[in-house]
């Protein structure tokens, strides 16, 4: 087949690339048209065979992805047998593989994601609104857009270096400034007086700020896409009725784009849950049995208001970090612990993603342009 196409590379010139077809080909020229049945028959059959083989190869590579997914999940569930039990979720880490649990990592990831979302959603959606709705095509805006595209390709570990050098050092400076001072916090009905608020340099906020930088390009891109799908007629109609530009954005465009924005934001934030590399670069704890702020159950969020102030400034570990730590333990019994950790992590990811799916489903039913 391939020798019929004299220059495989010339195929770039779209229409010319069809010259591989047999009608213009050598074999068709040499034989009279009638022999198409006898001599050309074999030729056609081999061409059809090639086409069929190619289709099977493509189908194989697509379904191989499905097979890998099934094998991966099966291998993990199979490995987790022996440790995956309710007390795996209620225990904190331990040197004994029979007692080690993921509670500290679960709470660490919870606080990290809470603050990562709090930082990245306003900044991410704000940037997207600026780029899509306000910015004119200036040099500066073009620089921002190119820069965003490149930031999305920066390995997450590089953000870890940035977080270690900038955020962690700043946290250390703040810690020395406030160390030993009295801090009074008011939370709802509770008035809390803390004699001393310990601030750690490798705290949750430092981790969350770093993760924010990691996911920000994705959050911005997802929000931009959602804003772009809002038809221009809505903007024009709003402006024509005398609304200002900001009123149009805030009252019309953002509500219309909200389902898309929230789906995108949830999906990109869930990426941060699986990130371990930047957190390890920050010096997050790999082995700890302490939950941030000492809060170990959802009920304690209400009963220990003083600890709520402590948690963001406390040291932490996260689920992927604990999984990494268990995976590299030489004791083979930790394999089941690591696999159980992965099961918990995947369940958390799955439930977050299904929230996004539900949002997308209901939104697509309600809104029709």
């Amino acid at each position: 087949m391939s020798e019929q196409n004299p220059s495989g590379k010339s195929a770039r010139t779209t229409a010319g690339s069809i010259n591989g077809a047999p009608i213009n080909g050598e074999s068709a020229k040499r034989r009279p048209a009638v022999s198409f049945v006898s001599g050309g028959d074999r030729h056609i059959r081999s061409r059809l065979m090639l086409s069929r083989v190619f289709a099977w190869l493509c189908r194989f590579s697509t379904y191989a992805a499905l097979a890998v997914l099934v094998v991966l999940l099966a291998a993990i569930f199979y490995s987790s047998i022996g440790r995956l039990s309710p007390d795996f979720v209620t225990n904190t880490n331990s040197t004994s593989p029979l007692k080690a649990g993921i509670l500290a990592g679960l709470w660490g990831s919870f606080w990290l994601i809470l603050f990562t979302a709090m930082f990245s959603v306003p900044v991410g959606v704000g940037s997207a609104v600026y780029l899509e709705e306000i910015a004119k095509d200036s040099m500066l805006v073009r620089i921002i857009k190119v820069n965003l595209a490149n930031l999305a390709g920066v390995p997450s570990i590089v953000y870890g270096i940035l977080g270690y050098t900038v955020f962690r050092t700043s946290a250390a400076a703040i810690a020395t400034l406030f160390d030993g001072k009295h801090v009074i916090g008011v939370l709802g009905l509770f008035k809390v007086r803390l004699s001393k608020l310990p601030i750690y340099e490798d705290n949750i906020l430092v981790g969350a700020l770093t993760l924010t930088l990691v996911i920000l390009p994705t959050v911005i891109a997802a929000s931009q896409e959602a804003l772009r799908s809002v038809p221009g007629s809505i903007r024009v109609a709003s402006l024509a009725l005398g609304a200002t530009r900001w009123q149009t954005i805030w009252r019309q465009v953002i509500p219309a784009a909200l389902p898309g924005i929230s789906t995108g934001v949830i999906l990109s934030t869930s990426r941060a849950i699986g990130e371990a590399a930047p957190l390890i670069m920050l010096g997050a704890l790999t082995y700890t049995s302490m939950c941030p702020g000492g809060i170990e159950s959802p009920l304690e969020l209400l009963t220990k208001p003083a600890q709520l102030l402590q948690a963001p400034l406390d040291q932490f570990t996260a689920m992927p970090i604990e999984i990494y730590d268990w995976s590299k333990q030489p004791d083979a019994r930790f394999t089941a612990v690591a696999a159980s950790g992965i099961v918990v992590l995947l369940v958390v990811l799955l439930s977050i993603n299904s929230v996004a799916m539900v949002v997308r489903h209901f939104a697509s039913r309600r809104l029709k342009w």
Binding site: N5, A11, T14, A15, I18, G20, A21, P22, R47, S51, F54, A55, C58, R59, T62, A65, L66, L69, L72, A75, I76, S79, V123, G124, G126, Y130, N147, A149, N150, L151, G153, V154, P155, S156, I157, V158, G160, I161, L216, A243, R245, W246, S270, R271, I273, G274, E275, A276, A277, I280, M281, P320, Y324, S327, K328, A338, A339, I342, L345, L349
Partner: protein, 318 residues
């Protein structure tokens, strides 16, 4: 409609200052990304090339020539330390090449299948499968490589051929990184393949082409720039991939291209060094910044080339 029936916000007077203020705030959000890039570059250069104050930057202690050409990486403080990037670079490239060998055929095959062959319903089923594969965290793939692929697939297969395989090896790390970036190649390639106009396909069919001819001789060449750009992006992603390589690839910085042994990549060295307990301004710790520059420069260059190919060689159809 009388004014009284309008909601309060619609009749309130809006000051120009208020509008300007909001727009400025939004601009600052967008400008934060430029600040991030600047901060990354400043932090890396400020610790690797020239450090203000009493600390010594990495390249003030190790020459650039030694760093780029040295074939030994022994990041320890004192005179015994050797800082040549070649072992880390060879490990990184080996893993990325193995990943490409896995992901390029698989990703392109999947893209062609989903755009040219699959029925819409089949596609709707396959697309989420790839999305899930892309959404699984890196540590999970590391575990999969170390505890499943190496002992249950590669060890028996290579043992059958009489080859010795280490517990930590670049091969299994490369394979899982390849699995991780396959969805990226598949979805980016599928997008460009779908944007090839229908008329080209129909013209080719009319001339008697088989589906193979249409896919390989017409559609793929027409979408080639986008496909190449996707390959490059995936390659750069594989270079920056961390946790899977840390877990499955081992920690031996040896200048080798033997994928059956353990290898340390640039990223896995950075994780290894940051979990060590050396002092913050020791040279073994400062070497993280030097490797960081190399990693940042390599991935950025590949991404820029990818973007350039996409812009320069894009086929524009009416």
């Amino acid at each position: 409609m009388t004014m009284g029936k309008l909601p309060a916000w619609a009749v309130q007077r809006v000051s120009r200052r208020h509008e300007k203020l909001i727009q400025t705030a939004l601009f600052l959000c967008a400008a934060l990304s430029v600040l991030t890039t600047a901060a990354i570059i400043l932090v890396l250069l400020g610790n690797a090339v020239y450090a203000p104050g009493a600390r010594n930057a990495f390249f003030e202690q190790v020459s650039l020539w030694e760093f780029l050409t040295g074939t030994h990486w022994k990041p320890i403080d004192g005179p015994a330390g050797r800082f040549g990037i070649i072992p880390l670079l060879s490990g990184t490239i080996m893993v990325a090449v193995i990943a490409s060998l896995v992901s390029v055929p698989a990703g392109l095959g999947a893209a062609i299948y989903m755009s040219e062959y699959a029925a819409p319903r089949e596609r709707e089923f396959l697309k989420p499968v790839l999305e899930i594969l892309a959404g699984i965290p890196s540590v999970v793939y590391g575990f999969f490589a170390l505890k499943f692929i190496t002992p249950w697939i590669l060890k028996p297969a290579l043992g059958f051929l009489g080859l010795e395989l280490g517990t930590f090896n670049a091969l299994s790390a490369g394979i899982v990184v390849g699995i991780m970036v396959t969805p990226l190649i598949a979805s980016l390639s599928e997008d460009v393949i779908r944007s090839v106009p229908r008329s080209l396909r129909e013209a080719a069919y009319a001339l008697g082409s088989t589906r193979f001819d249409v896919s390989v001789r017409v559609v793929v060449p027409a979408a080639l720039s986008g496909i190449l750009a996707a390959f490059l992006l995936a390659f750069s992603r594989a270079i920056g991939e961390t946790m899977a390589v840390v877990i499955a690839g081992g920690q031996q910085p040896i200048a080798t291209l033997n994928p059956l042994r353990g290898a340390q990549t640039m990223t896995s060295f950075m994780v290894h060094a940051s979990t060590g307990d050396s002092a913050a301004d020791s040279i073994s710790r400062m070497s993280i910044y030097a490797i960081g520059i190399a990693l940042f420069a390599i991935t950025l260059t590949i991404n820029l080339i990818s973007g350039w190919i996409l812009r320069r060689y894009r086929e524009v159809y009416q």
